[in-house]
Amino acid sequence: MVVCDIFKYHMSIDLKTIKHISKLSRISVDEQKAEKLAGDLNSIFKFIEKLNELKTENVVPLTSVAETTLKLRSDEIKSKDIRKQILKNSPQDNEDYFVVPKVIE
């Protein structure tokens, strides 16, 4: 059987793959959400498959439309003393630190 070129990359995204991507993305998904996502992602990737129609071996990838070399700035401190305001945005603050769940037993 000849496998059509268009299906070469895109195998249907199964629940196992969804679980793997969700782990990489640090987004928890339950079974119900995983199934919904699998359906959505499959229809989106089916749409994206169109790109395989084009041969691109000799094309140089475009990484930036801004044809400019990145400029450097001198290393000067310009910010104000805003420690308190920054810590105020923390979901759980302890005066001088950002607090996270215990990581060392």
Binding site: I21, S25, R26, I44, V60, T68
Partner: protein
């Protein structure tokens, strides 16, 4: 003076400069109308009392040399505003108060404008209908239960509904031009690198660009003049000579060559869009422009390319939302559990979908097949434009493949929602400027827009073409104030 909110930005600036109106009167008028317009849900955060204080302060010692003297203005809630909550339409930033100001908004305040509040948008600017916002749908002033487009839906609704004389939005794949088209206003997506991205909540960094949204082309040119500056704080900001767009604005476009790309005649496009386009071509001819048929052969690959590049960049940009230093945090049994629950509960469905797509296309084993492939096709799309611009000065297309649709109509079908941006996305991929101007109505009386795409850094040229065509089109937005009781 009655009907202050009906005046264009240019009229308000003139009346303030001529001392016929005070900043306080103008600010009060827009606050009153905004307060009567809660049903539109255009605002996420209101800052009215502080706006009034600033207006009074301005009037005490008015600096009438400024470009936006005492002009009140609400902005999209994607721009960080110092000490004022900035949410990006997301639960995960529901309580985030920036300690710095975006360059674009700072430029606006430096010219004398006054912040009215922060406007609703799709969550992290991901959407074409403003339905992904954590803060709810925005109503289109054109008709009840009609989407205003997105992602700058609150911005478009606020300008069309006269809640603000002018505003700024951001455009990653059409987020200024599509809502402008859906609400009958003007919206400009500048050349990539024209307006600083510093302090704008990042979505897809190689595509994001801030731009003005206004009732007419002249106002749009004036705001573009204010917001476009070189900024060392954005490493992709480009140091080029910027025009005084509003001063140099002219309706003389005689002899300008305007390209008509045959690939924008897509299958299933409503007849009225084709008719609008033909009308646009005639208007351009009437203005003395020369019409040239062109080809942009890779147009149909632009959307699939975009839906690899944009989610890939988004998945990387949105990795910072981990519930540690700011924003929403969910309770977790350990650090990883906290991250995963925070992001699962803090992001909405569309944002999660895009993070997952982005993570997948960048993951080991798929990078070459998807991301690298998309970057190569992005190059082909840009080459198409480069080739076309050897023959023409600008390109004319419809802004969107349809008029505004009903709230809920496309919500459950991501691909059909994505198709909204079919005419706008290629412009972002190529980093070019594009402007949408209102050009007519469909059978339902909903506005339709035409898009003029320019060469990089050639904003003046597309503003001029838009200005000349605007005069011929003589568009009147049909706003009935249905939401005001």
């Amino acid at each position: 003076m009655s009907d202050i909110t009906k005046q264009s930005l240019s009229e308000l600036v003139k009346n303030i400069k001529d001392k016929k109106l005070s900043s306080e009167e103008v600010t009060k008028a827009f606050i009153n109308r905004s307060e009567k317009s809660k049903e539109l849900n255009a605002y996420i955060t209101e800052d009215y009392s502080s706006a009034l204080d600033k207006a009074k302060k301005f009037d005490q010692k008015p600096n009438l040399e400024l470009k936006l003297p005492g002009i009140p203005m609400a902005v999209k809630d994607l721009f960080c505003t110092d000490s004022i909550r900035t949410t990006a339409g997301s639960k995960i930033l529901n309580n985030f108060v920036p300690t710095y100001e975006s360059t674009v908004t700072q430029n606006i305040w430096n010219e004398g404008a006054i912040l009215l509040g922060k406007l609703n948008c799709d969550e992290f600017a991901m959407g074409s209908s403003n339905e992904t916002s954590f803060f709810g749908n925005v109503q289109n002033p054109i008709d009840k239960n009609l989407v205003p487009g997105g992602s700058s839906g609150g911005s478009a609704s606020a300008v069309a509904g006269q809640l603000t004389p002018i505003t700024i939005g951001t455009d990653t794949g059409g987020s200024i031009r599509q809502p402008a088209s859906f609400t009958g206003i003007v919206g400009l997506k500048p050349t990539y690198g024209s307006c600083s991205r510093y302090g704008i909540v990042a979505f897809a960094s190689s595509l994001d660009q801030a731009g003005p949204m206004a009732q007419n082309v002249k106002d749009c040119a004036l705001l573009q003049e204010v917001i476009s500056t070189y900024d060392p704080k954005d490493s992709t900001s480009i140091d080029f000579k910027r025009n005084e767009y509003s001063k140099e604005l002219t309706n003389n476009i005689k002899g300008k060559k305007i390209g008509i790309p045959k690939e924008y005649r897509v299958e299933g496009m409503p007849k009225e869009i084709e008719e609008l386009w033909q009308k646009g071509i005639q208007y351009a001819k009437d203005c003395g422009a020369e019409i040239v048929d062109i080809s942009l052969p890779h147009t149909s690959y632009a959307l699939p390319t975009y839906y690899i590049v944009a989610p890939a960049e988004a998945s990387s940009n949105l990795a910072r939302y981990d519930g540690v230093k700011y924003g929403f945090r969910a309770k977790g049994e350990n650090l990883t559990d906290m991250y995963e629950k925070t992001r699962s509960e803090g992001f909405g469905a569309e944002v999660q979908r895009r993070i997952m797509i982005g993570t997948y296309v960048l993951s080991s084993g798929y990078y070459d097949a998807y991301y690298l492939k998309a970057q190569k096709i992005r190059k082909l799309i840009k080459n198409d434009f480069d080739e076309a611009y050897k023959k023409v000065d600008a390109i004319l297309t419809p802004s969107t493949p349809s008029s505004a649709f009903k709230i809920g109509e496309k919500k459950d079908d991501p691909v059909s929602m994505y198709l909204n941006d079919i005419f706008t996305v290629p412009v972002n991929l190529a980093g070019l400027p594009g402007i949408s101007i209102p050009a007519g109505h469909d059978a339902k009386g909903y506005p339709l827009g035409l898009q003029i795409i320019g060469k990089a850094f050639d904003e003046q040229n597309i503003l001029n073409i838009a200005y000349a065509m605007e005069e011929k089109i003589n568009f009147k937005n049909k706003i009935t104030d249905w939401w005001i009781k």
